[in-house]
């Protein structure tokens, strides 16, 4: 119960207890059948669809008074979506929030998995816009459900075939389909395929909530997550030809930032917390190494 006297009294974490109970049951079922999309009675949330209503409902159902919440959007803690969801839970659940990956017990994310390896006491909650990996090739829900039930996944490779036929390589860079524990093909939400290997045998529990599509699915800890590919076109992640301009990190996912209208640009860590940590530890990228040039 909220202690703020001037605020309309919300139940802890906004949702009523019966709704949380219903969502927790869906989550338990999802964990029991890794990769399977469990339908649930998604509620209206005080934010538009597409802003993370699914993820927020999952977080609201699992969060406790002792939890520490971190919210990231495209890897960053300071974007509108991340800031407003964090503020939402501070208001309706009065819980501690953080931007440090290490300190968080629940991390709600849109589009990225933190660079820091997650631990077994952490839960990663994904906001999912389109949970059905087969949707763009097969518009009928009745048919896709049947295909999942009968493990008919040839169609998923048709998509990859098209990629190679058109581009000479698998050009899908995000929402790259994976097979979970040798059974269900699953969409990892629009995370870059760079993050797919992090899902494999992760120590942390991974929960996926799709509010508009009313589906919850999960990857339990220590579960096999294999990216689909062809024998002669194996799966590979994006490679960057330079380190982060601010912290000099290699083998991390970088964002391109336009600096001026003369073609100036830099590549920086998409995971802002990871980047800040490294700079605090004394790592310096090329842009910070030459402050006088950058100032001019």
């Amino acid at each position: 119960m909220s202690s703020h006297a001037d605020l309309a009294t919300y139940n802890f974490a906004y949702l009523d207890e019966q709704t949380k109970r219903m969502i927790r049951r869906a989550i338990l079922k999802a964990i029991a059948i890794p990769g399977y999309q469990v339908p649930f009675a998604s509620r209206e949330m005080p934010m538009p669809y597409g802003w993370g209503t699914g993820g927020v409902q999952v977080t609201a159902s699992i969060i406790g008074a002792d939890d520490v919440l971190k919210v990231i959007d495209q890897g960053a803690d300071d974007t509108t979506n991340a800031v407003s969801i964090r503020a939402f839970f501070q208001k309706v659940a009065d819980i501690a929030v953080t931007t440090k990956t290490d300190e968080a017990t629940i991390i709600q994310t849109r589009h990225r998995i933190p660079e820091t390896r997650l631990k077994s006491n952490q839960v990663l909650v994904y906001q999912v816009p389109i949970p059905e990996p087969l949707r763009f090739l097969e518009p009928r829900e009745t048919e896709t459900r049947k295909m999942h039930a009968l493990e008919e996944y040839g169609l998923m490779h048709v998509k990859l075939y098209e990629d190679i036929a058109r581009n000479g390589h698998i050009a899908t860079t995000y929402s790259y389909p994976v097979k979970v524990q040798g059974r269900y093909v699953m969409s990892p939400s629009p995370t870059p395929k760079f993050d797919n290997p992090k899902m494999h045998m992760s120590d942390a529990l991974q929960l996926f909530g799709a509010g508009r599509e009313k589906r919850i699915y999960a990857v339990p800890p220590h579960t096999e997550v294999v990216s689909l590919d062809f024998e002669d076109h194996p799966f590979e992640v994006q490679k960057f030809d330079r380190p982060c301009a601010l912290c000099g990190a290699e083998h991390v996912y970088l964002d391109e930032v336009i600096l001026d209208d003369k073609g100036g640009r830099m590549f920086v860590c998409s995971d802002t917390d990871h980047c800040e940590d490294r700079r605090a530890d004394g790592h310096v990228g090329e842009l910070l190494a030459k402050p006088q040039e950058a100032a001019e």
Partner: protein, 258 residues
């Protein structure tokens, strides 16, 4: 020909409420045989074809199919997974409208390759080589392999649909008016192609058509349907040259002679 039929149909009926789509149909189809089902619109041809190909569940009767291991299985006592597997490996279904049988938004190569990928082929180079080979066999230029079927003419789409169905080496192909909507010269080429493929591959086929010329060209045997009943069946030449039933006589005499 072997000594047992490929498909055994017993007493098959399909009711739509109190009306019937087809009634008490029984026949056998032998390996390598092409059977035509002819009749006018509304005579139950398509209902019968759909009941045979598990696209529609019949009200009564049974359809038994000889599996590759030689055993007979009743299609409607198989699990749905087995039926669907059968449909995409050992069977083919050629729709009248190619858009129903093709994926219009993926390339011709992927259309042909889909069945291969569905049965677990995971080598892009091999899939593409097989697709190229099949496009050549159905007379589609190899340079069109990455084009979507929506850029194809009606005749090309129909040939692509045939290639897509035959790529897994099925033993039985169902065709619903395969030449419907095509002009006569394209029809002639398509019939020629189908006839060649059927004899090369030793396929069995069940072809639904209202066009007696198609039946004459392609089929060995035919069933004539009227009001849901099979009123006459026999060798194609016998039925067309010496029709016994008054309705069949009417049908045969209705062909325009030019």
């Amino acid at each position: 020909m072997t000594d047992s039929p490929l498909l055994k149909v017993n007493d098959l009926s399909k009711f739509y409420g109190t009306r019937h789509g087809c009634r008490n149909v029984a026949f056998e189809l032998w390996p390598g045989e092409v059977l035509a089902i002819v009749g006018e619109s509304g005579s139950g041809k398509t209902t019968l074809l759909n009941c045979l190909s598990t696209r529609l569940t019949p009200t009564t009767g049974s359809v038994e199919y000889q599996m590759r291991d030689g055993s007979f299985r009743d299609l409607y006592h198989m699990s749905e997974a087995e039926r669907r597997f059968l449909m995409r490996t050992d069977w083919g279904f050629v729709h009248q409208n190619p858009a129903d049988g093709l994926r219009m938004t993926v390339s011709a190569g992927a259309n042909v390759g889909e069945r291969l990928m569905a049965v677990g082929n995971r080598h892009y180079g091999n899939i593409r080589a097989t697709a190229t080979d099949w496009l050549t066999r159905v007379e589609i230029g190899v340079d069109r392999i990455d084009d979507q079927p929506r850029a194809f003419s009606g005749g090309m789409r129909q040939r692509l649909q045939i290639a897509r169905n035959l790529v897994t080496g099925p033993r039985l192909v169902f065709m619903d008016e395969p030449t419907g909507g095509l002009d006569v010269s394209v029809q002639a080429r398509l019939l020629d192609l189908v006839r060649g493929l059927v004899s090369d591959l030793g396929l069995s086929a069940i072809i639904v058509t209202h066009d007696l010329a198609v039946a004459r060209l392609l089929s060995h045997r035919m069933l004539v349907m009227k009001d849901g009943h099979v009123i006459e069946q026999g060798l194609t030449d016998r039925v067309l040259d010496d029709p016994h039933e008054p309705y069949t006589q009417l049908l045969v005499s209705s062909i325009l002679q030019v």
